[in-house]
């Protein structure tokens, strides 16, 4: 095997370790990149180098950006008194895609799990408590998963924040969803959270 082939194999191997990709899709991606060298490969390599040099976690909220404090935290427009607490940056991006939330975020970086030795200090919870006092926060929206660990974390945070309105995202029927396809737990949650029309 020549060095060139080895490098390509190494690239395929690296890509195949990424979430959502396997060896087969990694091979297809690498072949495509090589065929479209100037259109995709070179810009991708440059972008990777740039992001590799500058990407970091926001010191305030845990979001990922290229500066010490992310764009959302520095924007005055986002200082509306609301902080949305999410488990991971992927959840923050999902919230941003909706374009409905105009406040700031706090990324915990996981959920409480005694069995996995993940405690409050590993989760930026102390930093959240500091922010409540420092940023004139009136409402904390807990957008955490409906899992046992997610709900334990939600209870824990709510318990730590007296004097602030703490809300959580509603659980129930998804937009465009049909009742027939929902599991019983979701229907129960939706029924409990019903509202007047």
């Amino acid at each position: 095997m020549t060095q060139g082939t080895k490098d390509i194999e190494a690239l395929i191997d690296l890509l195949s370790r990424l979430p959502g990709l396997g060896p087969r899709s990694a091979r297809r991606a690498v072949l495509h990149l090589i065929k479209k060298r100037s259109l995709h490969l070179i810009p991708l390599a440059e972008a990777l180098t740039r992001v590799g040099a500058t990407a970091r976690e926001c010191l305030n909220c845990g979001n990922i950006g290229t500066t010490d404090i992310c764009d959302i935290c520095t924007s005055d427009k986002r200082a509306n008194g609301q902080i949305c607490v999410v488990e991971d940056v992927a959840d923050l991006w999902a919230m941003e895609r909706s374009q409905q939330f105009k406040g700031r975020y706090h990324v915990l970086g996981g959920t409480l799990s005694a069995l996995d030795a993940v405690g409050p200090d590993e989760l930026r919870i102390p930093r959240l408590i500091d922010r409540i006092a420092g940023e004139n926060v009136s409402e904390v929206i807990l957008a955490l998963g409906a899992t046992i660990d997610g709900q334990t974390t939600a209870h824990y945070i709510a318990d730590q924040l007296p004097g602030v309105t703490v809300t959580s995202l509603a659980q129930g029927v998804p937009v465009g969803g049909e009742l027939d396809y929902l599991d019983d737990g979701t229907i129960t949650a939706a029924l409990k959270a019903r509202r007047s029309l």
């Binding site: 409480l112 799990s113 334990t152 974390t153 824990y156 019983d184």
Partner: protein, 368 residues
């Protein structure tokens, strides 16, 4: 016929069965054959058509046929009231058990919603004299038959309790963390307690109303110490109050995970644990039959019953009475025994099946 029964059962690489297919008509199924032929394996496969690990509580990988070890599959056509479902459950080597109902991926809890399966196996003969663990499991299986959502409450409670126990063992003193876990334990725990109490009520009522030759058991849900507080808030407060003691012990000392089911042989006023072996077995059969009668009213059909080696411990009179009660209920009861003579009283009322074994493979021979 309507009701709850399997119309067919197919096993593939399941324990001693390489491939087996049974066509059934809703009558009780009597399976006879020598020891080790694979009779219990057959009814274990049926038990996996309900949530959980089946009647042997086996690990998924242990169910696969050796030496191939390629994974196993159980498929059944299940008549449930007026619906017919195709149920598939399987596991490939080293993977978790999966379920499909009518060609759609489903949870194990969903199995509990379309069908009801109850069992009595020889290892339960010591139920009344061994630890509370087995009796809680017995009660929870009965509870699950009346309230399929009980499984979710138990899983939530146990997960939250494992987390809390870790905090206790690690001597963590973060009160907020405990409160967060106790809140979930209290929610699930109150539901568990209410479901179990309702089940004890169902069983007592079914025993009182039923015409049976088996003895009546007076049941009670008990706690090792004081009674369990009633309701979510009271339970939450009790967990908080118990924290110092729990910290010293390194585990949670109160809660529904410590409940026990006590039974008294009503006619004699003697606790089940002090009864003779035969009486203890009769009490268990009585409860299973009461559960079945209760379900026939509550669910609309008696459950599928799996009675492993049930005939062996009963005298001829009690055996005949059991068969009569099962037939009167209209339940598809799967019964195993070593010889066909044990099922002679059933006559044409049951499908008879012989299981033999050759070179490590079970062979089924239905008797027409």
């Amino acid at each position: 016929m309507s009701g709850l029964y399997l119309e067919s059962l197919t096993l593939s690489h399941f324990r001693s069965h390489r491939r087996a297919k049974l066509d059934l008509d809703g009558r009780p199924v009597a399976i006879h054959g020598p020891n080790g032929a694979g009779k219990t394996n057959l009814i274990e496969a049926v038990s996996l058509l309900s949530p959980g690990r089946g009647l042997r509580r086996a690990a998924t990988d242990d169910l696969t046929r050796r030496p191939e070890g390629v994974g196993w599959k159980v498929t059944a056509i299940l008549h449930s009231l007026h619906q017919v479902h195709e149920v598939e459950t399987w596991a490939e080597a080293g993977t978790a058990r999966q379920v499909r109902i009518d060609s759609k991926t489903a949870t194990q809890t969903a199995l509990g919603r379309i069908g009801r399966v109850l069992w009595l196996v020889p290892s339960m003969d010591r139920l009344w004299i061994e630890g509370a663990d087995g009796r809680r499991r017995f009660l929870d299986r009965a509870t699950l038959s009346f309230e399929p959502g009980h499984a979710d409450a138990v899983l939530t409670y146990e997960k939250a309790m494992r987390e809390r126990n870790r905090l206790l063992k690690d001597m963590v003193r973060d009160a907020h963390w405990y409160a967060a876990l106790e809140s979930q334990m209290a929610d699930a725990g109150a539901a568990i307690q209410a479901n179990r109490l309702a089940t004890v009520g169902h069983l007592m009522q079914a025993q009182a109303e039923g015409e049976t030759t088996f003895p009546v058991a007076t049941l009670e849900l008990t706690q090792p110490e004081a009674d369990l507080p009633d309701g979510t808030e009271a339970l939450k407060a009790a967990f908080a109050e118990s924290r110092p003691r729990d910290l010293a012990a390194g585990r949670t000392l109160i809660g529904p995970h410590r409940s026990d089911l006590s039974a008294v042989f009503a006619a004699k006023g003697v606790p089940a644990a002090d009864c003779s072996t035969g009486e203890q077995k009769a009490l268990l059969i009585s409860l299973i039959l009461a559960n079945a009668r209760g379900l026939a009213q509550d669910f609309g059909a008696p459950p599928i019953l799996l009675l492993d080696e049930v005939a062996a411990h009963l005298d001829a009179g009690r055996r005949a009475a059991l068969y009569d009660e099962i037939c009167a209920l209209g339940a598809q009861a799967w019964m195993t025994g070593t010889g066909p003579e044990l099922f002679a009283d059933l006559g044409e009322r049951a499908q008879i099946l012989e299981v033999t074994e050759a070179s490590g493979t079970s062979i089924l021979a239905p008797k027409k």
